[in-house]
Symmetry: C2
Subunit: 226 residues, 2 copies
């Protein structure tokens, strides 16, 4: 059995496609942390879960919108502008939620321990992470050490491990890999804004559009035409 | 500035007393995870915060009661009996919430990064932890490595560190240390059940009573007389 963190974006979609090839039974976890795009992402989560025939009992949505109270991020703070204009440097963008991946993955580990899952897949990507410190391979090595130390100790520990199958991929390689696995890209959402159409100008849209262009594939989702 | 995780129990109380000696400004964090004793613990948290003159703006209570949905613990599941009769073996008790300390500390790290705090105090105790894997010193070493990897990278990282000042203490040493620091033990609560009086028979009460007895100090809280 495998667990996949499914945000609704294309990286986690491709992770789900990869995990589906390995595990006959999948658990899907979605975290609602009060992001502006939540309703859209939740729709994508359910559609992707349907696509991979994940039964309701193995889907979980956890509301961690209290992260808004902690603050520090434009993804969870409507007063801050979403940054546009391209990812041009390696500084950490204002969409950064401190230590977010650790919070999310700690919850995944807790659920995995309860249901007996050992492999947790997350679509972290190093290259296009815009400097998020918790997207680096060294972070995941440290996390897996912590999981070994911090979960129920049998003779061999819980055996729970976080796997990052696309962490070393470029975004266009993720698109190509997803195409090979017939991942339903039309059910994914990357835009930092919500709506029927992706904005096409936020950092996340620009990365996605560039990835599809480089992969030589047409992105099946709809973009606003200015 | 220092941050203290204040559950309302005596270990975190003594941590607060230790941190108050070092840091003129304290932040207090309390996690409500749907435990049966929450109202009592919250009262203790506020009283202890008053005692150490922590202003409201530096107190935070985060509701993580969704941990109930993840399951696996009698502290958060009223259908399971609270275990009584003494901690007699090193097996993990049924009050175990998987990976709970990592979830809690991830939230503390996020808040610390936002407000600029570098030292986070938690009253983890190895000896009396009844086998909780995330109370071991090796767990905290792994956690601090993860924090270095996963928080905002300046030239020297965020510098955030989790400190466990009583982890190697016996419970009676914690009582003695608290007495030296004039910690207000009458404002703390350890019982697994809630009420005006502590039950005196649950594992946590037994550990507390034994600690005060060994320290040669009278516990100022009231116990039910059977």
């Amino acid at each position: 059995m495998g667990m996949v963190l499914v945000s609704g974006g294309m990286d986690s979609l491709v992770c789900a496609a990869i995990a589906a090839k390995i595990h006959p039974q999948l658990y899907f976890l979605h975290l609602n942390y009060g992001q502006l795009t939540e309703s859209k992402e939740l729709w994508c989560f359910q559609q992707i879960a349907d696509h991979y025939a994940v039964p309701d009992a193995r889907r979980k949505i956890i509301d961690i919108s209290f992260l808004k109270e902690i603050g520090g991020s434009s993804l969870t703070d409507q007063r801050l502008e979403v940054r546009t204009g391209g990812v041009v440097d390696s500084s950490i963008p204002n969409s950064y939620v401190p230590f977010r991946n650790t919070i999310i993955l700690s919850l995944a580990v807790a659920w995995a321990e309860v249901v007996g899952v050992r492999k947790i897949y997350i679509g972290a990507v190093h290259e296009d992470s815009s400097g998020y410190p918790d997207c680096r391979p060294s972070y995941y090595r440290a996390l897996n050490t912590l999981i070994t130390e911090g979960t129920k100790a049998g003779s061999e520990g819980s055996g729970i491990e976080v796997i990052t199958p696309v962490i070393d991929h470029s975004k266009d390689k993720i698109v190509k890999r997803g195409m090979e696995l017939s991942a339903p890209f039309h059910l994914s959402w990357s835009c930092y804004k919500s709506g029927d159409f992706a904005c096409g100008v936020c950092d996340s849209c620009l990365l996605r559009l560039r990835a599809f262009a480089r992969a030589g594939v047409k992105d099946p989702i709809k973009y606003r035409v200015y």
